[in-house]
Symmetry: C2
Subunit: 285 residues, 2 copies
């Protein structure tokens, strides 16, 4: 047992899977659920993701509270929670951006911001909602924590232990570096996939294109099935880094365009070969 009582704000794929994994590992005794949508909380209880639904006052009595929500909601949720936090309670989150979440925690929690451990599990799916939750979602996956200078050491240790109990490998990064890295390897690909699908869908003869799209297209655009509100929040929360990545990507596409327009077979072969090798190195064990 790592903590007696865990509260989950947002009982969807991420929060629900955290709960299932910790229950299975015997790392928590009781899991409470908080959310605006009573029907969703009922489903979460029926699926065994939470033991019972509580209000903010109830959640504040938990030993650890995980926020698993679109990152744009962080500050409002922490403000709701702040007056009710019991002494020693730890708050953490699972948001895909970290600098804005750290700022939200400072604004909402004041001195209690030292009890907040910013986190980001690198796991997910284009599926969402309580029905998508599964106990093994974090097995072998990375979780990045971005503790601040004043983050309580024992709060950090507890959050680390919880993620490890859920099967994850925990790493720490500076929050700004986290945001730059994930702008490149996650946020940009999501935006690029959404843009590609939407561009085709907007065409008058879009159906003809989709009719012949196959497995390459399916995999390239899998992440365009992700939750729109979550990705709106990420794009805005990590705006500067996302814009820099969009610019770098457009520049890369323009340079590729130049090689195609100039029929530069050698440049194309080099670019494609470098990319394939880099990807193979990345995938190699």
């Amino acid at each position: 047992m790592i903590v007696d009582t865990l509260a989950i704000v947002g009982t969807g794929l991420i929060g629900g899977s955290f709960s299932l994994a910790l229950k299975q590992a015997g790392a928590v005794r009781t899991v409470l659920g908080v959310g605006r949508n009573p029907a969703r909380l009922t489903v979460a209880r029926e699926l065994g993701l939470i033991d019972r639904a509580v209000d903010w006052a109830g959640a504040g009595q938990a030993d650890c509270i995980l926020l698993a929500l679109p990152v744009g909601e962080t500050e409002v949720v922490l403000k709701n929670l702040a007056p009710h936090l019991k002494a020693g309670a730890i708050v953490t989150d699972a948001g895909s951006t970290k600098a804005n979440v750290v700022a939200a925690a400072r604004a909402a929690l004041g001195a209690r911001a030292a009890d907040f451990v910013p986190g980001h599990p690198i796991a997910g799916s284009e599926q969402s909602g309580p029905g998508a939750a599964r106990a093994d979602l974090y097995q072998g996956k990375k979780v990045v924590l971005t503790p601040q200078a004043d983050t309580r050491a024992d709060a950090l240790a507890t959050v680390r232990a919880l993620w490890e109990a859920a099967g994850a490998q925990v790493e720490t990064l500076d929050a700004a570096q986290h945001d730059r890295v994930f702008a490149a390897v996650s946020h940009l690909p999501h935006l690029a996939a959404f843009a590609l699908v939407d561009e085709l869908a907007q065409r008058a003869d879009g159906d003809t294109f989709f009719r012949f799209a196959a497995s390459g297209f399916r995999d390239f655009t899998r992440i365009a099935g992700s939750a729109p509100d979550m990705w709106r929040d990420i794009a805005l929360a990590n705006r500067e880094a996302v814009l820099a990545e969009l610019d770098a990507y457009v520049a890369a596409l323009q340079s590729l365009r130049q090689a195609v327009a100039g029929e530069d077979a050698d440049a194309l072969l080099k670019l494609f070969s470098r990319a394939r090798s880099a990807r193979e190195r990345w995938l190699a064990p």
Copy 2:
């Protein structure tokens, strides 16, 4: 039995899978292999993809000859084959672009171009080579044939029957329309994936980025593992349509950039929601 003897020029994933599927279906008796690389032909024979290796003169005696090669090699191969083609022999191909292949067939085959049936199986994998071939590669997949006004009707019927015996659904399209459609749903995504991986790999701190890349990145870039020479040829062979798609994609990314820069939450939510819905409609049975 649809044809007695089939010859495959290029005994890799595409040609080898065609052979395995037709042998399994009892649609061919003998499969001959042609290629520049003797070691590869030996592997193909050992794997049962071909019965024996032959030269151009031997291949010309087959009832049907499939070209399964990077499209840039089409004209040279057809010129090698042309003097040896027996009366009634049918030639077909599996290239990802069609207008350039049709032009190559006219240039190389002259009057015998009526015996050429341009084809494109919409199946594949980022894997390549004889070892990747499998009998079920085409099961349930689309194959697009782009017959010309003068294509021999019985040659078209035979090629259609072969692909159907291999498990595929055959459709016909105008060659130019084929190239426009596949520029959008296949060629552009491949180029976009290659460009993304290469852009990251070129960075001095590229390793840090790859270290945190996860399943979304893996799927988005799966097609960047494809054969570089094949994709160089496709980009050049379908240059005009590929450039038009690159321009449309860059414009879509610029418009998305504007929404992020202007913090237009509503526009982002609408774009992401439209994309997700379009993809769901596409995937729905």
